[in-house]
């Protein structure tokens, strides 16, 4: 990346400047929401790193008793770690589409792992490209249907083996439509290499890199040198968990067939392997003098149960499945870096945030809200409530359901005959005591049900 690549740092010719002004005016006329963020520092490079099935508390900076994640700790210490980050659908494909489009699954259409990506979906990469960003999508695409010709993406590297899940070792890649063998045996290292190659290209424009890892999805395979990393660790699995959970009540579909403890150790080791590769990306930014001018966002696509509620996998509206790690580092303007933020944020907020950071208007079709105010002002008010939705995904044993999550309560409505659930998250953070039918539940339910109805209609709370 060349020095001084920002909008105001680089030499801008008259045609480009007029184009930007004209585009902005046209956007205004089209009814787009404009940001209030001042771009005195110019347009930043953007690196978005997405992991798979990384639950929010599996980081050493979150006090996890076992796993070591020094690179993510470094990001958190230099940026803002959102302690209450959620996904609107806890499932790979819908959540990934939400990150890209800033929309709920009901809007972008990827409702489960079987419904295809619609080619008329607009991604933030496409919008950034239109204003001169160099863009790359590298890693796991994993959305149903044929691999799309992603609009606005200069470099598209992904994989299609195993229905797009990829393999941890020797995973063949699709590089701009052509199959290529993996040069490194381990997929996380290979994808990082490819990302660094893209970042290293000489260019006059800022870049946006979407680096989407396979890790730490099942089968949780760490590289050989880390295989025994946590073998002696005391794992602190939940009391209701046991080794046979993944065989019970249809959970065999999660594919986790070995003893729970062994799988969890591998999960954590795979996560540490991912963290090392994230460290390489951060090093590139910092050692190349790009830190002030580069936004790095790290997030997970959904959480993961490790025996809580006697579940494996994700999907359900419980905290373990819907909470994700979400860290933003942008030294140029983050107020008081190193702080956690407690406002509730969502995966659909990513796209509006990146667009605002790049000085672009946020299309009204996006259902998320920019995080820029929260990054600049630690006291900024976040949302009061938001809606979670899960759609049927055969043959996984989870009913369709919707939930409203406020700062304190969660109210879940299922399709079919399953009774409603209501939890006081302050009193009962593990969601073990359903308040429906209790005096407290009777009092709380009407307001929460009304909120859910409003959110279904698209009202923002």
């Amino acid at each position: 990346m060349a020095e001084g690549n920002g909008l105001f740092a680089e030499k801008m010719n008259r045609r480009r400047a007029l184009g930007l002004i004209g585009g902005s005016m046209a956007a205004c006329a089209a009814g787009l929401r404009f940001p209030r963020f001042s771009h005195a520092s110019g347009r930043p490079n953007i690196i978005f790193i997405l992991s798979d099935d990384h639950r929010w508390d599996a980081m050493s900076n979150m006090g996890h008793p076992v796993v070591q994640t020094p690179s993510l700790d470094r990001l958190a210490s230099q940026g803002v770690r959102f302690n209450n980050a959620f996904v609107t659908t806890s499932l790979c494909s819908p959540s990934r589409a939400s990150f890209l489009t800033g929309q709920y699954a009901r809007t972008h259409g990827v409702q489960n792992n079987l419904t295809p990506w619609r080619n008329d979906n607009v991604t933030f990469l496409e919008l950034l490209k239109k204003t001169g960003y160099d863009t790359a999508f590298i890693g796991k695409w994993h959305m149903p249907g044929r691999l799309p010709a992603l609009r606005g993406v200069d470099r598209f590297i992904t994989f299609t083996v195993q229905e797009g899940q990829g393999r941890y070792f020797d995973c063949p890649l699709i590089v701009d439509g052509r199959e290529e063998p993996s040069r490194k045996p381990y997929i996380t290292e290979e994808l990082t290499d490819r990302a660094l190659e893209f970042m290293n290209r000489k260019r006059a424009n800022p870049f946006c890199l979407y680096l989407s890892h396979k890790a730490v999805h099942h089968r949780f395979l760490p590289p050989p040198e880390l295989q025994n990393l946590y073998n002696q660790a005391d794992l602190h699995l939940p009391p209701e968990a046991d080794s046979w959970i993944s065989w019970a009540k249809g959970q065999v579909w999660t594919g986790v067939l070995g003893p729970l403890e062994r799988e969890y150790r591998n999960y954590l080791a795979t996560l540490t392997a991912l963290d090392r590769q994230i460290g390489r990306v951060i090093d590139w930014v910092d050692n190349g003098g790009q830190a002030q001018n580069t936004v790095i966002v790290y997030a997970g696509d959904n959480g993961y149960f490790w025996g809580e509620h006697r579940f494996m996998d994700k999907r359900w509206a419980y905290e373990e499945a819907i909470r994700v790690p979400f860290i933003v580092r942008y030294p140029a303007f983050i107020n008081r870096p190193g702080r956690p933020a407690d406002q509730m944020i969502l995966n659909v907020d990513l796209a509006p945030t990146l667009l605002e950071m790049a000085g672009l208007p946020v299309p009204s079709a996006m259902e998320g809200t920019s995080l820029v105010p929260l990054l600049r002002d630690r006291g900024a008010a976040g949302r009061r409530a938001w809606m979670y939705e899960y759609f049927k995904d055969f043959p996984y044993n989870t009913p369709e359901h919707q939930a409203v999550r406020t700062r304190r309560h969660k109210f879940i409505q299922f399709q079919g005959g399953r009774p409603e659930e209501l939890y006081d998250l302050a009193q009962d953070p593990r969601e073990m005591k359903n308040l429906i039918g209790t005096a407290e539940g009777v009092q709380l339910r009407p307001e929460l049900a009304a909120m859910l109805e409003e959110l279904r209609r698209g009202v923002r709370l």
């Binding site: 009391p239 249809g250 043959p395």
Partner: protein
């Protein structure tokens, strides 16, 4: 009582087929109930042991219960058809109960298709393999008792090979992933 040949006394239908079936079925029902609800007692140390104990019991009684049922019914004079039917009762009822359970999430058609899923295919094939193995074990016992009988015969051997082939295709080939995707393609073709 009549003789079933080879010196085996044919007992009543209750004794030779229904009783072994119900014994296994009771074990499965109790083990599933204990496995699913023991954790509610809130005894973390005991839960670890109980989880293994009841989990293993469910796993082996559903998957390999035919070993027991076939052996018992064989030496109580059940015919081949009775033995096979007795052995299939538990896995089929288990699959049926799962089909009914998932009706909460899926349509009737989807639920029935769920009953044909790789997991149940494997349970069925495992029980089939166990029947083949049990038949050979029963014959070996008879031969040790002086009955002139072949231990290895084509049909039980074929059952064991069928199980091994199924095990490879369903569980070992791509760690179960490939066959699962074949099953998923079937779902898409039928329901999408």
């Amino acid at each position: 009582m009549t003789t079933a040949g080879r010196g085996i006394i044919r007992r009543s239908l209750w004794e030779r087929a229904i009783k072994p079936t119900l014994t296994l079925l009771s074990l499965v029902v109790i083990a599933i109930a204990l496995y699913n609800h023991f954790w509610r007692l809130g005894l973390p140390t005991l839960q670890k042991i109980a989880g293994h104990l009841f989990g293993l019991t469910v796993f082996f009684s559903v998957g390999c219960g035919a070993l027991y049922v076939y052996w018992r019914s064989y030496f109580r004079g059940a015919t081949l058809v009775e033995r096979i039917c007795a052995c299939l009762v538990t896995p089929v009822l288990y699959a049926a109960s799962e089909v009914l359970r998932v009706r909460e999430f899926f349509s009737w058609g989807e639920s029935l298709y769920y009953g044909l899923s790789p997991g149940f295919q494997l349970i069925l094939l495992t029980n089939l393999g166990c029947m083949g193995l049990a038949d050979m074990l029963c014959r070996r016992r008879l031969r040790r008792n002086g009955v002139a009988i072949k231990v290895v015969t084509p049909l039980p051997l074929a059952a064991v090979f069928l199980f091994l082939a199924g095990l490879y295709v369903i569980l070992i080939w791509g760690f179960g992933v490939h066959w699962f995707y074949v099953y998923q393609q079937g779902y898409k073709a039928l329901f999408h």
